[in-house]
């Protein structure tokens, strides 16, 4: 790779998100921003051959702004042409116009706008914020590239038709606007973590999710929920090396060897946990689901690592979580925590209560929890019934093999 190509790659890696955000905010058009930035990068390939500019990102920003104007001038509508003329004048008059402004937070909010479906939010965030190709997003979500391209286009068209802003919303709107960003990041991470057999590709997606969360934390260092999300994801990430056996089969958290947990991730998680605790009083968003879930993860870990059961603490944390963010998964986890504290019968009763609320017969985690508790009581018949039901419901081959193994153990 020559010096120009190397400089382009390095600048792209470090500044792509900031460049796209600034261009999109200035021209109020995400499509245009991406296209113009691609034009500018192509131009850099030629222009940087003799010498790489002193501030390559500023060069790209200035050039991309001109490319935006070129594209606007060619644009058919009179309105946009008039806009190009006035922006052109501004660009000439303002000597600081190539200083890259900070607009990244606005793009986070833009991509995770609540007027979009969650699938569209995550796709936009992966493409425009994390900079993943449509091919990689398609592989991550087990769908066709054309589907992702269409989803991205439809989402951008909707945002454009509704003149959705590139500015971060006012603080009083954060309680409604911040959670979709956090859950989009979590969905990306789950997609990576849930795909146990996904190998290098899944691990890379996991790192992308961690990077997204990390970037968000650097932009919102005072938000406890953002820091807690980071802590939770780092804790999950620390378990990654410990959760499969040499033959690739799954090891549940309770039977993992804490020595195999990744130390670097654990240290990062601890830092985020204490930072989250420190900012609780000053956060715009109050402590919520992520703060509690991070504590649950940390308590589980501490309990396993120290060999000291913390059943009562875990039930309390699950109760707190159900109060702020009730969901079937959380209710199932709470039932399991209850079983640890008060015995399997209490857990089964709690699971039955969850089922009475809504039909969970098609939900694998519910069957797995039931099976686990019946097995603890030595009731192999019902355990086998629920394991068989779960095996038909899980998507991954490794997970199916894991359940198959449990069934075989019951019969053996």
């Amino acid at each position: 790779m020559d010096a120009a190509a190397q400089a382009i790659e390095a600048t792209w890696r470090t500044h792509r998100f900031a460049l796209v955000s600034a261009l999109a905010a200035r021209f109020r058009d995400l499509d245009l921003a991406e296209e113009a930035l691609a034009d500018a990068v192509a131009a850099a390939g030629e222009a940087w051959k003799d010498a790489v500019p002193e501030r390559p990102e500023a060069w790209l920003y200035r050039t991309a702004q001109r490319k935006c104007l070129d594209r606007l001038r060619r644009h058919a509508t009179a309105n946009r042409k008039a806009e190009a003329v006035s922006l052109d004048r501004e660009l000439h008059a303002d000597p600081g116009a190539d200083a890259l402004p900070e607009a990244r937070l606005g793009l986070f909010f833009h991509c995770a706008h609540p007027a979009l479906a969650p699938g569209a939010q995550t796709a936009l965030m992966l493409y425009h914020v994390a900079g993943l190709s449509t091919a990689r997003i398609a592989r991550a979500f087990l769908t066709h590239e054309a589907t992702i391209q269409q989803r991205l286009k439809r989402a951008r068209d909707k945002l454009k038709a509704n003149a959705v802003s590139f500015e971060p919303p006012r603080c009083e709107d954060w309680p409604a606007r911040l959670p979709p960003i956090l859950s989009a990041v979590e969905i990306v991470y789950d997609q990576s973590y849930g795909d146990i057999g996904g190998g290098v590709e899944a691990e890379a997606l996991g790192r992308d999710a961690l990077q997204l969360a990390w970037t968000l934390a650097s932009l919102l260092p005072q938000e406890a929920e953002v820091l807690a999300l980071n802590a939770m994801l780092q804790l999950c990430e620390s378990r990654r090396p410990a959760r499969t056996r040499a033959d690739g089969r799954l090891i549940p958290l309770s039977r993992q060897d804490p020595h195999h947990w990744d130390r670097k991730s654990l240290a990062r998680a601890a830092k985020f946990m204490s930072a989250a605790a420190d900012t609780l009083a000053t956060s715009v968003l109050p402590a919520g689901a992520y703060t509690i879930r991070a504590r649950i993860h940390a308590t589980h870990g501490a309990s396993i690592a120290s060999g000291r059961p913390m059943h009562a603490e875990l039930v309390d944390l699950h109760d707190a979580l159900m109060a702020v963010a009730p969901s079937p998964v959380m209710a199932i986890n709470r039932a399991l925590a209850l079983a640890d504290r008060d015995g399997p019968r209490a857990g089964i009763a709690a699971l039955e209560a969850v089922e009475a609320d809504r039909d969970l017969s098609g939900f694998a985690p519910w069957h797995l929890a039931r099976a686990e508790l019946h097995q603890r009581l030595g009731e192999h018949g019902p355990a086998r019934l629920h394991l068989t039901a779960a095996r038909q419901l899980v998507p991954g081959t490794l997970e199916r093999a894991f359940i198959g193994e449990k069934i075989a153990l019951l019969e053996g």
């Binding site: 509508t77 309105n79 706008h113 945002l159 509704n162 003149a163 802003s165």
Partner: protein, 119 residues
């Protein structure tokens, strides 16, 4: 840019007629909102509609046009009125939509209005 805020409600809540307090309260709440919108300088239009049972639908299918008694869609909630406002972005439109009074449960659909045709 302009947005239409279309109001969908189950108009059974107004079954008791225009003398009922439910009706009078909602009319008063709409009047107040209209004033607030006028004060903010964003209101461009809007009307309340008569009950869905008064609707007639002309349906075109296979080149044939037929006339039907009733609203276009047989749903629990029916179009009951709309506002047209001019604001800068969807977020502002959402802010105004949240202020629209409803007698019971319902929904407000926000749609950007097509601008004037450009060449």
């Amino acid at each position: 840019m302009q947005f239409m805020l279309a109001i969908y409600e189950d108009d059974a809540v107004y079954d008791h007629g225009t003398d009922d307090t439910a009706w009078q309260d909602i009319i008063e709440a709409h009047r107040k909102l209209g004033e607030e919108m006028a004060k903010a300088g964003i209101i461009r239009g809007g009307e309340g509609l008569q009950r869905a049972v008064t609707a007639t639908t002309v349906r075109s299918r296979g080149g044939q046009q037929t006339i039907h008694d009733g609203a276009y869609a047989e749903t629990k909630e029916q179009l009951g009125g709309f506002y047209v406002i001019e604001v800068d972005s969807l977020d502002e439109a959402i802010g105004w939509a949240k202020k629209i009074p409803l007698a019971g449960e319902g929904a407000v659909e926000i749609r950007p209005i097509l601008g004037p045709m450009e060449d």
